[in-house]
């Protein structure tokens, strides 16, 4: 199976990836191969199987509603490429 060029472009756009023509070509078949592999699951009889929401056999992992001291602002901003007046600085968003 090959993914159509349009599908590759759509997925690239959603992931904000800029692909060259050659990459689009290559990904069409590579992504297609991955989907083929996953499609093998279709062969299994799953009519009687409940959909799985989580791989761990667990539920209700909660914490009580008790606040703790947040991190120091300087520490939180330490890894930011740019900061100004205690705020994260990012390219302009329209």
């Amino acid at each position: 199976m090959t993914l159509s060029r349009q599908e590759v472009e759509h997925v690239a756009m959603l992931a904000r990836l800029k692909l060259s023509e050659e990459e689009k070509e290559r990904l069409s078949s590579e992504l297609g191969a991955i989907l083929d592999y996953v499609e093998r699951l279709e062969a299994l009889p799953t009519a009687e199987v409940e959909p799985l929401a989580h791989v761990l056999p667990m539920h209700n992992a909660f914490r009580p509603d008790e606040p703790r001291a947040p991190f120091a602002r300087d520490e939180m901003l330490a890894n930011a490429p740019q900061a100004l007046d205690g705020l994260f600085k990012v390219p302009r968003i329209l």
């Binding site: 009580p64 939180m76 705020l87 994260f88 990012v90």
Partner: protein, 484 residues
């Protein structure tokens, strides 16, 4: 095209921030405002390798809300990731609920112009709020944006209605009613101006009687009840204009421009988001058994509809008065506190809906912020009943109570506002006024009853409103007849 032949179809998505102590997936404090980026940690800023853990109170508030909105509480629900890129969303996905929300299939009854309508609730789900962008200068010229993540991870409920609303007035009534319920539940403070209650609308129009839905638009950025009503009215007219001109409605997202009072296109369907939802592997499912639901049900407070009925049947208040007093939890609590202290229900209601609410509106304050206590209001009403102060003086006393927070006894004593009921004190004063106005006295004796009012007014003026009007009336009638 006959406009009367068309109707609007409106569905609302309401987001409310929950009033928990900590955020939904980390223990950072959940507080409005604060210095930028001072309520954050690696979890709510999306640092690599961190794990979210659900705040149990968020689940309980969601169950409480679902029960109040007559929903089924899902025995099994889960969290999903909603993927999109925006700098106020540090993980590049929002943790939300997609196909298995915590509550489904409820309703909320509203009343518009005396007509009761039942509005379906499609679902209620839990999710996290995003941060806030701060722009320097104008959005068009600023070279960069600044991000404050204090709000990132604040717990939200999204409450989605069925497309059951037909007019802007119904939409407003629905949000007002929903807000009242949420305030009574104590799950959110629901301040539209601060963004703790936000509302988006889906709007379309169709020929009356048609079952099919027209093409809809989504309206955002309505930050007050008035904005909600106006934006919907504008959008319905805009869609009808398009159809009238032989055009058609384009499916798109539009934003309400409060300054220009119009809706403007934000993005079309082609640019619409493809969120690629999938179950969040960091969070295990939520299983809610009947016992948990019943435990929450047992702690449910009285809701607005029940309170309104109680006020009508226990105290004989009108449906209108009961509706106004139960519009907020604080207002009902104040009323109940006054009655518990021995206040006469009707008098308490009149003062709360009259002078008290006028002063609150003037100053833009909420009843909970006011310095007037139930005990002070009840004491003031007692002084009116005992005749210590007149109803007119009470207004001045109340204004002073409102302004300073002092008790009525103190104010009355200090300002010498005590009502003069002593006949011996009033009689000479009244005699002098009658003597000064022989013509008016003559008129009264000739059957002109209105002349009495003139004398009462003069006496009130002379005593700075402190004379007891009943006593004045009695003395005047006796004097005017007696001198005949």
């Amino acid at each position: 095209m006959e406009r009367g032949g068309y109707e609007a179809v409106i569905g609302l998505e309401v987001h409310v921030e929950l009033k928990t102590a900590s955020k939904i997936f980390c223990a950072c404090p959940n507080q409005f405002g604060g210095e930028p980026n001072t309520h954050i940690c690696p979890v709510c800023t999306g640092m690599p390798g961190v794990l979210p853990v659900v705040n149990q109170r968020v689940v309980e508030y969601a169950i409480r809300t679902g029960l109040a909105l007559n929903c089924q509480i899902a025995p099994f629900s889960k969290f999903d990731r909603k993927n999109y890129f925006y700098p106020d969303l540090p993980k590049a996905y929002q943790i939300s609920q997609y196909d298995l929300p915590i509550c489904r299939g409820g309703y909320l009854d509203i009343e518009v112009e005396g007509e009761r309508r039942r509005i379906g609730i499609t679902r209620v789900h839990m999710e996290e709020d995003a941060g806030k962008l701060v722009h320097l200068g104008t959005i068009a010229t600023t070279p960069y944006s600044l991000v404050d993540l204090n709000r990132s991870g604040v717990p939200l409920l999204e409450i989605v209605s069925e497309p059951d609303l037909r007019t802007p007035a119904e939409a407003r009534a629905y949000v007002e009613r929903l807000r009242a319920v949420l305030l009574f539940l104590g799950v959110s403070d629901c301040k539209m101006q601060e963004g703790s209650l936000r509302c988006d609308a889906n709007v379309s129009v169709r020929p009356r009687g048609s079952q099919a839905l027209g093409t809809k638009t989504e309206i955002k950025n309505m930050n007050s009840f008035k904005a909600l009503e106006r934006a919907l009215a504008y959008e319905i007219e805009r869609q009808l204009d398009l159809l009238e001109d032989g055009g058609c409605v384009v499916q798109e997202t539009r934003t309400w421009d409060e300054g220009k009072q119009v809706t403007l296109s934000m993005r079309s369907k082609e640019e619409a988001h493809d969120y690629r939802y999938f179950p969040d592997p960091d969070l295990v499912p939520i299983v809610i058994d009947d016992e948990w639901v019943e435990r929450v049900r047992a702690t449910m407070p009285e809701l607005p509809d029940a309170a309104r009925q109680r006020l009508q049947s226990c105290y004989g208040l009108s449906a209108y008065d009961a509706g106004v007093l139960t519009a907020t939890k604080d207002s009902l609590d104040f009323f109940d506190a006054c009655v518990a202290l021995g206040g006469e229900a009707k008098a308490v209601a009149n003062w709360m809906m009259g002078d008290f609410s006028r002063l609150l509106n003037q100053r833009g304050e909420e009843i909970a912020e006011s310095k007037v206590t139930p005990a002070a209001l009840v004491r003031m009403l007692e002084m009116v009943r005992e005749g210590t102060i007149s109803g007119k003086l009470a207004k001045a006393v109340f204004e002073e109570m409102y302004a300073s927070g002092r008790g009525p006894d103190e104010i009355v004593r200090e300002q010498g506002l005590v009502q003069i009921s002593d006949e011996e004190a009033l009689a000479p004063l009244i005699a002098a006024i009658v003597a000064d106005n022989p013509k008016v006295a003559e008129d009264y004796r000739n059957g002109k009853d209105k002349a009495l009012g003139f004398f009462v007014g003069q006496v009130m003026k002379a005593t700075r409103g402190q004379a007891n009007p009943q006593v004045v009336n009695a003395i005047l009638q006796r004097m005017l007849r007696g001198t005949q």
